[in-house]
């Protein structure tokens, strides 16, 4: 390709397909092991296609630290629309089964997998056994991702169908409006914010604790030394036991969770102490539920004269209100938990490798490949020079803005509601995206790329980021608005923004590079227009 972004095809046929950079889930440069983890996610996608009977081969490659996905199929181009139509039919068939699959199959099985991983006696296990355990752990996490890509098909499909029906029944609606029909649900994401508020209440009620928390460099250990902090430390560990797998802002295996880095959470508590919210999570949820009912009534009125379609709408609405939340709840249970669970295991194995002198620091293990670790455990060796080389490469890759696509050129198509479309604007002071959550709001832009950037987002700020996931809930609960580079109205960021009533414009393409940190901006979550003021 170019000197800046050299690409070597692993297989000659790779040049014949279109490769898309996954800047939604992995916008940063990836270490060797994090790149291999992208392969696990791709394997899950491939399994989803298998389950839907879609004859496509899912490929993943990591070039210069960036993960690209490609689809290969032997189905002739003229028949591919029909192939995806069959996929839609298969996904529809999965709607009825989705709730039972999720609760009776997916949650028990993924929970058992995480527990199994956590229970490994990594520190004392003989090294050859650890090598086998390593493979087994990755295999089990891989299985979680496979379940993920089956579990989400029905939920995304029902929301798609519901939105299609709503939009065809009512005129003059904005892209995200239809999905407000399922707003106000009470699920894991609401629990995160509610439990965070409860922690803030305990801090306020404990003399001296708030002051200590607001000191620079506050630590959990420091807070625990404040007399009467018991209740807080107990509540915090209970919070971490439940939600501690959140915290990683993207699907990069190197990122720590709250359980590993509770200081990330302390920063969010700090903000809540300094600027108490004007509305509680529960009040906001009730408001969104009320708005959802108003939207449903509008649709019912519009469909009044067509009883057949009205009945269809009611059926879709009921299904969507039951399983629609899984479009984001699944991320809490699988994307975040699988990543946190695997990462903690990886670091423990890294400590063993550091103990035998194979690497310098436990976290250096992230610069080894998945297949290199069991090899190293079995045969021993010194990988410190290799790690240093790869660290150096990664730093170089991090400075690159990679091309969105490689291989066979492709046009920006219509885009589905998850990936969305990328719009451009000819006005230098304007960005265009998809209005994903209604509301017009002004505020200072906070370009939020890293976990360290989270701390700087204060109440009323406009978050500007590549994308998001449930780890961003604490920010969404206090921010004034949201602008993302990637995604459509059903993307992670859009779903969570609506759940927190946060005005949002998604899929602007390059907001994180075009908007300077601190710049005053105005966004319209209906029209999808962002103005630089």
């Amino acid at each position: 390709m170019t000197d800046q972004f050299p690409v070597e095809w692993l297989d000659p046929s790779d040049a014949e397909i279109t490769w898309e950079w996954d800047d939604m889930h992995m916008p940063g440069a990836l270490s060797a092991l994090a790149g291999d983890y992208a392969g696990v996610i791709a394997a899950g996608m491939a399994y989803g296609h298998q389950r839907m009977g879609t004859p496509v081969e899912m490929r993943v490659r990591v070039w210069n630290g960036y993960a690209y996905y490609g689809l290969a199929t032997d189905v002739p181009e003229a028949e591919q629309d029909a192939m995806w139509e069959r996929r839609t039919v298969a996904a529809r068939a999965a709607i009825q089964d989705a709730d039972a699959y999720w609760h009776e199959r997916a949650i028990p099985e993924v929970s058992a997998a995480y527990a199994w991983v956590a229970d490994r006696r990594v520190e004392t296990m003989p090294v050859p056994e650890l090598a086998e355990t390593w493979d087994e752990v990755w295999a089990r996490i891989s299985r979680c991702w496979a379940m993920h890509f089956y579990a989400i098909r029905g939920p995304y499909q029902v929301l798609d169908d519901l939105a299609d029906m709503y939009e065809s029944a009512l005129e003059a609606q904005t892209p995200g409006e239809a999905l407000g029909l399922i707003g106000g649900g009470d699920h894991e994401l609401q629990a995160v914010e509610r439990d965070l508020e409860a922690l803030a209440v305990i801090i306020r009620a404990t003399p001296g604790l708030a002051e200590r928390l607001c000191e620079p460099g506050a630590t959990v250990e420091g807070l625990a030394m404040v007399p009467g902090a018991d209740r807080f430390t107990q509540a915090l560990s209970s919070f971490l036991a439940t939600h501690g797998h959140l915290g990683q802002n993207f699907d990069d295996l190197m990122l720590a969770s709250w359980a590993e880095e509770p200081s990330l959470l302390l920063a969010e508590l700090d903000k809540r102490i300094r600027t108490p919210g004007t509305i509680t999570a529960e009040e906001r949820r009730a408001r969104l539920a009320n708005e959802a009912d108003l939207l449903a009534d509008r649709a019912r009125t519009a469909l009044e004269k067509d009883p057949a379609r009205l009945a269809q709408f009611e059926a879709l609405l009921a299904d969507a209100r039951q399983i629609g939340h899984l479009t984001e709840t699944h991320n809490y249970w699988i994307d975040r938990m699988a990543q946190a669970s695997l990462r903690r295991f990886v670091v423990r194995v890294g400590r063993r490798l550091a103990d035998i002198g194979a690497i310098e620091e436990p976290e250096d293990i992230f610069h080894l490949h998945r297949a290199e670790v069991p090899e190293l455990l079995r045969a021993g060796g010194d990988r410190r020079a290799l790690v240093a080389d790869r660290q150096h490469d990664l730093a170089r890759f991090a400075a690159i803005v990679p091309p969105r696509r490689l291989g066979k050129p492709a046009e920006d198509g219509g885009g589905d509601r998850f990936d969305g479309v990328r719009l451009t604007s000819s006005d230098p002071d304007e960005l265009r995206g998809t209005g994903a959550s209604a509301g017009i709001v002004r505020g200072p832009a906070r370009v939020t790329l890293t976990q360290a950037d989270f701390e700087a987002v204060l109440p009323g700020d406009i978050i500007v980021c590549p994308s998001s996931n449930p780890s961003w809930v604490p920010l969404f609960a206090i921010a004034g608005g949201l602008i993302t580079n990637t995604g459509g109205v059903l993307s992670h960021a859009a779903v969570v923004a609506r759940e927190f009533g946060l005005p949002a414009v998604v899929g602007t393409g390059d907001a994180t590079t075009r908007i300077a940190d601190g710049r005053l901006v105005e966004l319209d979550g209906s029209s999808g227009i962002v103005r630089l003021l």
Partner: protein
């Protein structure tokens, strides 16, 4: 080939190729097509097939057991897949499979004396049960190893089994919408004919589509170099009606034509008989030994 019935007592792990009474789903496509040729009365190099029972016994001895290799989730994950491949290739053969293999190799060596008093060399070929000779040709995806001594067979069998899970094979099946789970692989172990020449015959011209002519590619020696495209063979076009050579393009060999006239004539007879037996145009691989032609493979021509 005659193999005494008592010597090959009912061992579910092994099926002899001249035994027509075996279900295809236990021996895979390649072996089934060989048993079919034998049952039609064509001469094939003697050999046997390690059945899917043998594969299942070996796979069950891998870490993670049967669950892993029959699980599409695991097969789609590159790391799990490569760990599985490595474990399979590393062996050793499970004791039950090894016992069956050793006994069968001994029987086979009694059937075919090799050249110059040396034991005959062997070929190991994959025979996937998902392989559908007529509908989707798996050509080139799974492995064939030639020129092996008896000791080299076991590791070659393991590599052959592992090729079921190669990235290419899995990708191929995913792209075609074929099932990944429940798949199994049988392996054919065959004596290698000490060939003077090897040929590929199409009873319908693969380019022009003419079915009144045969196209023969012929090269001296074992023929593997020709199949893999490493050398250019002689190309001979023969009219089916009067057996006249319509066209002859010499290949790379400097020793003159690979086939003499009488050998070519016998080959044409053989090819037409195979076509008649299949009731459709076929492509054929055959080898010429001192005692005449051996049929190595024949399958209906897949329409592009």
């Amino acid at each position: 080939m005659t193999t005494s019935a008592s010597a090959r007592a009912s061992d579910p792990m092994v099926a002899w190729l001249d035994d027509a009474d075996i279900e295809r789903d236990r021996i895979g496509g390649k072996a089934a097509s060989l048993t079919r040729l034998a049952s039609y009365g064509f001469r094939i190099p003697p050999g046997f097939c390690l059945t899917t029972d043998a594969f299942a016994a070996q796979a069950a001895s891998l870490p993670g057991g049967t669950d892993r290799h029959s699980n599409p989730m695991a097969l789609l994950d590159p790391g799990t897949r490569s760990a599985l491949v490595q474990a399979m290739v590393a062996g050793p053969l499970s004791p039950v499979v090894a016992a069956s293999l050793v006994a069968s190799l001994q029987l086979l060596s009694g059937l075919v004396p090799g050249a110059d008093g040396e034991p005959a060399l062997l070929a190991v070929r994959s025979s996937s049960v998902a392989e559908d000779g007529a509908a989707a040709s798996f050509a080139g995806l799974h492995d064939t190893e030639l020129g092996l001594t008896a000791e080299e067979v076991a590791p070659a069998v393991l590599r052959c089994w592992a090729s079921l899970w190669s990235e290419r094979a899995i990708g191929y099946r995913a792209r075609r919408g074929l099932a990944l789970d429940g798949d199994a692989m049988a392996v054919v172990v065959q004596a290698l004919v000490p060939a003077r020449a090897a040929v590929i015959v199409f009873t319908r011209h693969p380019v022009s589509g003419r079915s009144d002519q045969l196209l023969v590619n012929a090269a001296p020696g074992l023929g593997e170099a020709m199949v893999s495209g490493m050398i250019t063979p002689d190309t001979i076009v023969v009219s089916k009606a009067d057996r006249a050579v319509v066209d002859f393009t010499p290949g790379e060999s400097t020793d003159g034509p690979a086939l003499r006239d009488d050998a070519l004539d016998a080959l044409v007879t053989l090819s037409l008989e195979v076509e008649r037996a299949f009731g459709a145009p076929v492509d054929i691989e055959a080898a010429l030994a001192d005692d005449g032609w051996y049929l190595l493979q024949a399958r209906p021509i897949t329409t592009p």
